[in-house]
Symmetry: D2
């Protein structure tokens, strides 16, 4: 700023610290990227060991570096690392600390490496860990759903379309739908993990290096499947972060749908379930009130997953290769999503394990609204051989009759039934109760309790 034209002196006054203070504030990323510290040290250790083995740096220097890094790792683990915001990020903080601990040899660690491949490596390692954590958490939710689905394989409830009861299903069957959705979510995380698991280390600033490094060795040491094939790609793409955020947003949709159901089911209008005190907040004035806060927070937080995905898609979209400082904005949204995903999954597992089922309320709702009309129509097709659409029309007439008489289908006298279709026998009543209806849907993936039991067993084998 020494050659700044005098005209600018004025505005310097308005910003206490001058332009450099603003720059420092907008530029600093330490508060965010300090979460990469374990990954950063692991990457440095692997790079250092390789440099020694390849004869690029001397063994003694390598040993000094390794010892210094180990000490720094301990300091960080113990919360005693002397962070200095003047070194804008975690990488420079560790580098400066290493120099302080072991002197000039520290400078050799950066041979054949650049912050560009270093941060890409650290971030991939972090996301990989986040994926593993998500996988374990989702598996726990599935385990909880499977336990409750097993317990409620026969518990009848309404199956809704358009939020209107359509056909009876079992609560176990309903829960198993989420086991499947979450299974695909795990698949997405799994695929994302496999795709990201390539090492950027050794790409250097952007062009590779003339030092005889062994990228396969560092890749292996860090658990990567192989080195990335192109150095420019290695330092400038963040599609692994986008894919993680996309998988999270889709998983968030599933969690939000379930949370929506929990909110509805636990209200008095549905009354299907009761959440425990653990996952609700009460009101000192209305002690019977149980606000489903945890479910609402899952619904709310998952909305932010979409926002964070959009943020990074937007940040990345217009950037020419290779590294640009815009990429610094990749971490905060991802960390925030990862933290909230963890909370949402834990809360969901907890609610599933903890909820009490009001079987009577579910059954009453399942039987209302002529919910076995489809069963009646299917009987007409199966037994009388009516075309499906014709059976539909005949059933409609019977429902109208029952409505007029103010009774349910199962309570409609046979005489009344025969006015509409004389060929109907009293065998018809065998399909008109909700239990019969549910028991009959034995097609693969259907809601029959026997099917649900088998589905639970198969899913346990597949997912747990």
């Amino acid at each position: 700023m020494s050659k700044k034209p005098p005209a600018n002196a004025a505005w310097g006054g308005r910003f206490a610290g001058g332009p450099s203070e603003i720059m420092q504030r907008i530029n600093v990323s330490l508060d965010v990227d300090k979460r990469l510290h374990e990954q950063d040290i692991a990457g440095s250790l692997a790079h250092n060991a390789m440099l020694v083995r390849a004869g690029i740096i001397a063994r003694e220097d390598g040993e000094r570096i390794a010892k210094g890094l180990a000490k720094i790792r301990d300091e960080l683990a113990a919360g005693k690392f002397p962070f200095d915001p003047a070194h804008e990020d975690i990488h420079l903080n560790i580098e400066a600390r290493l120099a302080a601990l072991i002197g000039p040899a520290a400078g050799r660690l950066h041979t054949a490496r650049s912050r560009n491949d270093q941060v890409a490596t650290d971030f991939r390692l972090w996301v990989r860990d986040a994926i593993d954590a998500a996988d374990a958490r989702i598996r726990d939710v599935q385990a909880a759903l499977l336990d409750r689905a097993d317990e409620h394989a026969k518990t009848v409830m309404p199956g809704f379309t358009h939020m209107q009861p359509a056909q009876p299903v079992t609560f176990g069957h309903h829960l198993m739908a989420y086991v499947e959705m979450l299974g695909r979510d795990r698949g997405r995380f799994h695929d994302a993990r496999a795709r990201l698991n390539e090492s950027p280390l050794g790409a250097a600033a952007l062009a590779g290096t003339s030092f005889p490094i062994d990228r396969a060795a560092t890749a292996k040491a860090l658990g990567f499947d192989r080195p990335m094939a192109n150095s420019m790609d290695a330092v400038s793409d963040r599609d692994f972060a986008l894919e993680y955020l996309a998988a999270t947003a889709i998983c968030g949709v599933h969690l939000s749908r379930f949370a929506e159901e929990i909110v509805l089911w636990s209200g008095p209008q549905f009354g299907f379930i009761a959440l425990s005190d653990a996952f609700t907040t009460g009101s000192s004035i209305m002690p019977q009130k149980r606000n489903p806060d945890a479910a609402e927070l899952v619904r709310g937080k998952t909305g932010r997953f979409t926002g964070n995905l959009v943020a990074l898609l937007t940040v990345m979209k217009g950037l020419a290769l290779t590294y640009a400082k815009d990429l610094q904005e990749d971490k905060a949204p991802l960390f925030e999503t990862a933290d909230n995903l963890d909370l949402c999954l834990a809360a969901t597992e907890g609610m599933v394990r903890d909820l009490r089922v009001n079987e009577a309320a579910m059954r009453a709702a399942a039987g209302a609204g002529f919910s076995t009309a489809t069963d009646l129509a299917d009987w007409l097709v199966r037994v009388l051989g009516l075309p499906f659409r014709e059976a539909h029309r005949r059933t409609g007439a019977l429902v109208k009759r029952a409505e007029a008489l103010g009774c349910d289908l199962a309570a409609l006298p046979l005489a009344e039934i025969r006015k509409i279709e004389p060929r109907i026998s009293d065998d018809i009543y065998s399909v008109l109760s909700v239990d019969k209806s549910v028991a009959s849907r034995t097609s693969l993936g259907g809601t029959a309790p026997s099917r649900v039991k088998r589905a639970v067993a198969a899913a346990r084998k597949k997912y747990l």
Copy 2:
């Protein structure tokens, strides 16, 4: 949790603190909403004064409450407030502290009020402050742009379409485009402020209250224009936050476009400007290198504005009235955006004030590529009376001729010109230089330096 079925005992083990620990972690908002503390105390003071005036609470209680709140305000300002995460948010922290300070009278403050209208009030006040801060910051950027536009009202540079030079403009004119965009941004913030400036206080939980409160008085005390007209609306809508985030996202598009230009202009391919050390980071190895980090960070951070807008739109979209805990997720995205907007505006102002203009490079680029071809065509229309489209064709032929001869239009001999259109006189050269071109565009809003000067003067009057 006491009646939790034994089956659940198992999973409790996996979560150190049990379900209630998860609930506590997902539920706590103190780290985020503590930023509302000033607003919260202001709201409480206004409510308290009104309760006293309306005779709803006793004068002595009111005085004790006011004194307690003043003390808490001091503690907060001094960083000495004893935050307790067990009280999940800032409101309960202050309430608990007040009780500790003044005893049971503290309980009277909550008469005819609920956390629902309280948090809505606090948040509106906070967003109002954020809008005022944004307005002042944008004004500063405009002031910087106006100073530099004034200084460079005559500095010729290429005007681009499709990133291809199309017609010469002046650098001052180019900067003035942003003054206009930012003017509309201020307009959006201004309108958002007017719309949000209604008081939710007194809506109570959701239905209003039976106490004879004076909502107009508390509204006035807090600088609101009037009380909100419907209590359910007051506690459940957050459109003021959405509107703020939308105004920010649009402003972010403007800042990002300018940042994109700064990044391009400061690279050697353009070489139009140089940023000072204050807004760049260098390379110890390439001391000539000046990475435009501040501009890149503006471009990156504004991408997150879109993400945060999407987050809250998504959170709000499916919620039935009135308050739902999902609304707790309204603050983090907004605070993050407000912080980053402040940084982006400060950095933009700084870069504008600080950049050095390479007039020679701008002029050279402005003259390349037959950029005065339109002037030539306009001359043919104006002087020879050709229809515009015909003049276009004739000009194309002349450009082709110049290209073949390897010279610019201004260097094309009259003899060559007349081969294509014999009626052209040597008056034509009066429009073929970039200075002449620029000077001629005197239409309102055009790039003629005289126009730019007038535009600067008008904008100073309008915006500063």
Copy 3:
């Protein structure tokens, strides 16, 4: 393509029409921008008239142009305009048609104008019309809400927080919340209209023009408040479209929240309302079923509003000035949103006008769950002078007692009540019914029927 190296011959084969066919397909915008035809002709007529008045083109040419444009307008209105995709957009189609109709004079219309300012003008005019249409439609929804709110100012229903009944409100009061939200939506559209209502015409390609045009005249002729002040801003910004999309997304949140409530209320679990056949679809098999398709479609379509806003924010964000072809992607998302907004508003108005209210179901739900507990607590504060928090605790004990006795608060014997607080008199019963509760909330904006009536009257004056 004539100089294409032979190596490329190969791939040409795979694309039937060669590269130019791909280019034509990606480049053509006629199917989308033909919707600008009225605006395009209006703009041309205004420009033409000004050119004549300013002496830039001859009166006879001007007359021929005006006549030609009038004929084209008729052809377009009659659906007889000969669209030709070879002219990639609506502007070139009209230009070509004008040339065919009136010959070379057509070429003079483009004097001192460019497609860049022309399309910006057309698009602003179109969005202005869309805003006016939205305003009228929203007003209609408000009118419908006001009629029904008036009708149901006293109809008691539960007021929900966390989807749990919290306090009784009236259906009219609930509807009035949406009148307020929609009022702010109209405000946003109104502000957006005022901000966009400046004329880009005369900005020419990007730099203004040397012709002595009268931009104020064309602005006035097209109903703009003034010409835009900077030519580069005029042709390259689309913040008016972003602001429209943002206002729409926020309005969409309001419509979606109401649609969510309609879906819930019309299901048997709530049973608060019944939608007519006009806004539901049935099932041939379950004739009693009324799927709230219209409400679901409103909820679904408004989700796309957010997507379209994001699309344009993303498109705009990285563009250097001035015009870039990316801007062609501004219209499709906006047209789609405008069409769907119109449908959503019409459907919402229709549902509001058409729904039947099940007052008994609402009242029953309003009285359940000790919903007047707050009224009891307020009585303790008001009559006995207890601090609010203490009154809360005492009320909680009474609710627990009522729950134990299996009765509602209003049915709790005074003797039981006095066990918990001996000072309570039988005046307490005056606040424990839902009607009394509702009637008592007479604070400004509260749910008391008298307040709702006044709110309806005030809103009619303000909004209709």
Copy 4:
């Protein structure tokens, strides 16, 4: 509507067709979902064949149905199918047509099936085809990139960080970065395909069916890997569409980054490449101008990919199970994205194949800005054994000296060099030219031409 209160008669007037006309307009999806016709018929044929084999419908009925469907397929292929908007979607159109063609037997096709599983099946099949098309298109882009990378394995250009030249790379190496990105994009589509390739058919409305259907058979007939395991999941999730949109959005980021580079490179400031007439639009007035419209449209259209992803994430997020009409909004955004992805990939392939490289301009830019400073520093480390950070500092001093002398590093006299570091020998010049620099970066994934050639060969084997 028969019992509509008289008050409503009024508004009926305003909507020409009354409420049912609005409902019809908001409800109809035929214009969008008619694109599913092939998938719909394939699904029906498979279902029909299975019903016959399982003995659920008679062979003769099955034959009649199959014949009718074949005829309908021909009608559709020939553009002669009598679409009727009164049947709101493609499924009902085909069903009605089948009834018209073969009579009541048509009604049997719907046995053990519902529109819910039918549309889910159709949509999965369509997305599967879209994935296959995308895969083929991306492969074509990779093939084009590989051909040009091979051709330009040695063509030197600047490698940028922060849009500032940092180190020389080869154009081939730069293009190979995109081959890798697109390879991962194909991986994402591939994984999405595997995950979606399960059959919903037979889930019926939501609960499965009591008919003895063979879901494995229909799954196999339609090329699905297996039936979906849960009927409720089958009809209500659309995560396969979300995953497709997410993969597209990420691929769009890659295409947009490349398009951004093409736009910059083809402008005169960079001048690295020239696009042919086929992918540019010109200006009649500036014949030398080549606007990179195709690249700009790629950049613009890919912005809408993000919007469409957000739209469907938002639509899905709050929906309770199972089918809701909101899901009708899943198709339009996805179809739009698929169409634009196809165009963007074709245009990108075309531009890659077609662009001419200006090697001289690339080389000149590569050599500017002391771009081999890193090579010098690496030499100091390798030959003199300096620690990396120390070598960095020494190099900085040399660059400053060269800058002061106004020459490039390669032109700095040895005497000058030795003033700063006396141990430097004239071997140093072996690393200071751009060709030497590039040739030296032989690490795996590095930019050395030999490496690029090997990378091209490996990628050809892997991707083509």
